[in-house]
């Protein structure tokens, strides 16, 4: 595979791949470095790319694994979630649905804001980055069981909030 062919396939994905890296690392420079290292890995395996059915998925997994390696080497400190990220309107929805969605996301953001930094970090990696419990355990240094309990409690609490909100609306 030539350089031009590689760029044609991989470069259009660079923003999505950056988002994957940032969702885990939550640091712009680290995410850019992770992306560069991932591109090196993809370049080394470029001969196998044409044989794959899902190149974007393979690239995303490569970036995710690289980001997990980087975050596992970092000191285990949690960056708080940016609650403004949860207030983005969806222009494709009707006004009522958009409001409801915004309320729901705001409720989630408010609830996550009540968590400790460590618990919030776990929920971010679970809900935003879509990592599995074992991957979250590796990234945060917590045990698998601890991660599972944190996510379970957070989701049950969210359900109770949504139930109360629905009962009030009804």
């Amino acid at each position: 595979m030539t350089e031009t062919e590689f760029k044609t396939i991989i470069m259009p994905l660079h923003k999505k791949l950056y988002a994957c890296a940032f969702a885990i690392l939550r640091n712009e420079s680290d995410a850019a470095d992770c992306l560069q290292d991932s591109f090196t890995r993809l370049w080394e395996n470029r001969e196998r790319l044409p044989l794959m059915d899902n190149i974007p998925g393979y690239a995303a997994v490569t970036v995710r694994n690289m980001a997990l390696n980087m975050v596992s080497r970092r000191p285990k400190t949690a960056e708080p979630i940016d609650k403004d990220l949860l207030d983005l309107p969806d222009s494709s929805l009707s006004p009522a649905a958009s409001v409801e969605q915004k309320d729901s996301m705001k409720a989630i953001g408010d609830m996550l804001g009540q968590l400790s930094p460590g618990q919030r970090r776990v929920m971010e990696l679970s809900s935003l980055a879509g990592l599995s419990n074992s991957e979250i355990s590796e990234a945060t240094g917590l045990s698998d069981e601890n991660v599972r309990v944190i996510i379970s409690r957070a989701r049950r609490k969210l359900k109770s909030l949504f139930s109360k909100r629905n009962s009030l609306l009804n």
Partner: protein, 314 residues
């Protein structure tokens, strides 16, 4: 109708795992798709009648939307110049000819392998040289060369029973180790001789160590050029209990040629110590080769650690 019931059953099964946080990413994807189908039915959906199910659906959809929105925001946050930086990086990789392997590491292991092969050849050659049987009379060259490797450090060579080998000795040395009452310092035989060994009979099968031979202090050889490790002052082999047949203790059996034990060489103590010196020399060569192989630049070999043969007369 069956599809809706199946979706309901599937959703309830997966939502339990969702709250237990034991759901896998693939099951989460199925949960989201099932939730979309249940909500798409409209006002006749089960969610309309079951408030608990409604809350579950709302939560699943809200979390998914939050994730999608966050990822969109992260994409927009990509720093300017990132694309150019990545393109330049790919261009550098292509120019360097990276092919998935790391040439420096490959070359490093290649050099280490070559160095190890050379050292193994040297060691094998040294072992074969040492274990070769002595030739019949007239093999002065062999004897001289053997004798020339004997260390004569006065501080570490008080080996009892050590015979003296001179350059004039033309006899076949069938080595044996015989006890001696007083320590005798072996000397490198280049010239001269000791009176007690002025003449060796042609057919002498053994060399008896001089019983009362004492080397004057002024004739001691300056042997400070010999390399470490130091041979201890105590005799390496016990005098009284010394076996007649001596084999190299440091060499494994598989290296030694198949030899009839009854015909084993009876090496003199000087030859045994010569063998030990050769082993130490081989080890130093090995360490030197490895250091050269793993160093950034390979410079000329340094023979400073190699022992030099003292040329002092006896």
């Amino acid at each position: 109708m069956d599809t809706k019931n199946n979706d309901l059953i599937l959703f309830k099964s997966l939502i339990r795992k969702f709250y237990d946080a034991s759901i896998t990413p693939e099951e989460t994807r199925i949960l989201n798709e099932t939730a979309d189908r249940l909500l798409s039915v409209g006002e006749h959906s089960a969610a309309t009648y079951d408030p608990d199910l409604k809350a579950d659906l709302a939560l699943v959809v809200a979390l998914r939307n939050m994730s999608e929105k966050a990822m969109d925001e992260f994409e927009m946050m990509a720093p300017s110049g990132l694309e150019e930086r990545l393109e330049g990086h790919i261009h550098n990789l292509a120019s360097a000819g990276t092919s998935g392997r790391r040439p420096f590491r490959t070359k490093k292991w290649l050099r280490a392998g070559v160095a190890a092969a050379v050292v193994a050849t040297v060691i094998t050659g040294g072992i074969r040289f040492l274990t070769a049987p002595d030739a019949p009379s007239g093999n002065t060259g062999t004897n001289t060369s053997l004798a020339s490797t004997v260390s004569a450090d006065s501080s570490r060579s008080a080996v009892k029973g050590a015979p003296v080998i001179t350059a004039d000795t033309t006899q076949t040395l069938t080595p044996t180790i015989s006890p001696a009452s007083s320590p005798v310092k072996p000397h490198i035989a280049q010239a001269g001789h000791i009176a007690a060994h002025e003449e060796m009979p042609d057919d002498t099968p053994e060399i008896e160590a001089p019983q009362e031979e004492v080397i004057p202090a002024d004739e001691e050889i300056d042997d400070t050029e010999y390399f470490s490790p130091q041979i201890p002052d105590e005799p390496l082999i016990a005098s009284a209990e010394m076996p007649e047949q001596v084999t190299f203790p440091l060499l494994p059996p598989e290296i030694l040629p198949a030899v009839n034990p009854e015909q084993s060489l009876k090496l003199p103590l000087t030859t045994l110590s010569a063998g030990i010196d050769n082993v130490f020399r081989s080890i130093s060569l090995l360490s030197e080769s490895l250091s050269v192989a793993f160093s950034p630049t390979v410079g000329p070999e340094d023979d400073s650690a190699a022992p030099s043969i003292p040329t002092q007369p006896i």
